[in-house]
């Protein structure tokens, strides 16, 4: 059904229309010398290569196979980040003060930012919208087990749940437990198992 919205005046053809409009905008800006043909790729490249959950996944996978690295990661996350070949500025841009907490059979950790949406961008990427949702922020502190269950994580009563409140001073994230049956996997294969949700403590790692 064609849209009545005045911005989408081409109705059913709006895909073609939008694609043509963006192309026209880009070519106009290039003609005017405001951007170059490479500008957009450079900006997108930043999101693709510099910061994202693939960084956190790499760190966790290394910690799973190298216990000494794991100790260093838990003791000083930012220093441990520097041991890996991360792009310059890895510990900048909201990642200056990252701390990681380890899930064990006895303790399950979950992160929240009760004030706003402080988040370790360099290791987890962009926060999901619910992370900033007032309901999630309030409820996860009050009834973490219930919230975790809604996310699909059911914990035994014997497991202690710890909620870590991120702030401008410390941005927390979680070192999940390595799942059973992954003994033969390489570090890269292990990294592929990790999701941002697992590193926020609202999911477990699935094989």
């Amino acid at each position: 059904m064609p849209s009545n919205y005045p911005g989408f005046k081409y109705g059913a053809d709006r895909e073609t229309y939008s694609a043509a409009k963006v192309k026209a905008l880009e070519s106009l800006l290039i003609e005017k010398g405001i951007i170059t043909g490479k500008t957009v790729d450079q900006i997108l490249g930043y999101f693709d290569t510099e910061m994202g959950p693939f960084n956190g996944a790499k760190l966790v996978a290394k910690a799973w196979v190298d216990l000494e690295f794991k100790q260093r990661l838990l003791a000083d996350c930012n220093a441990a980040c520097q041991e890996l070949d991360f792009p310059a500025g890895m510990s900048g841009a909201e990642g200056e003060h990252m701390r990681i907490v380890e899930n064990t059979p006895e303790v399950h950790n979950v992160i929240v930012c009760t004030l706003c949406s402080c988040y370790p961008w360099p290791t987890l990427g962009l926060p999901p919208y619910w992370f900033k949702d007032p309901t999630f922020r309030a409820r996860v502190v009050r009834e973490p087990r219930v919230v975790l269950k809604e996310f699909g994580v059911t914990l035994d009563d014997s497991v202690e749940v710890r909620v870590w409140d991120s702030s401008a001073q410390i941005r927390w994230w979680v070192l999940p437990m390595r799942p059973a049956g992954t003994e033969g996997l390489s570090e890269a294969q292990l990294a592929d198992l990790l999701t941002p949700e697992a590193m926020m403590g609202v999911a477990t790692v699935q094989v």
Binding site: M1, S3, N4, Y5, G7, F8, R14, E15, S18, A19, A20, K21, V22, K23, A24, L25, E26, S27, L28, L29, K32, I34, I35, T39, V40, D41, I43, L44, Y46, F47, D48, E50, M51, G52, P53, G89, G92, A93, E94, S117, Y119, W121, L124, G125, L126, P127, P128, Y129, F131, K132, D133, T195, P196
Partner: protein
Amino acid sequence: MFTQFEHFAATSLMGSPEESPPRQDGHLHFDRDWEKMAFGVAIALSKQGHFEWEAFRQTLIETINEWETTHSLDDPEWDYYHCWLTALEKVAVESGVIAAGELEAQMTQLLDCKSEPCS
């Protein structure tokens, strides 16, 4: 302190599922090439100081609200990047980056070139 404008810009939009760019596994997710270009152009123009990021953000929110008040919320026509593009065009014209009508003229030229070769 925001040391990377790109990240500041993207995360300032993370308030709600509606305003926030679609993501997949913590990455920005684009379905079509033109979405990428519209996203990148908006960030580039603001980064260069042609308009404040907040001005773009507010225009995007207004555009989304306008759409929502004229459509039912489960209308399958809803499309985040169409709203993004509408907001981008508004802000680009308001800030004087492009003149009103200039974009239409450029489009006509580009579309005409598709049907017959232009020099």
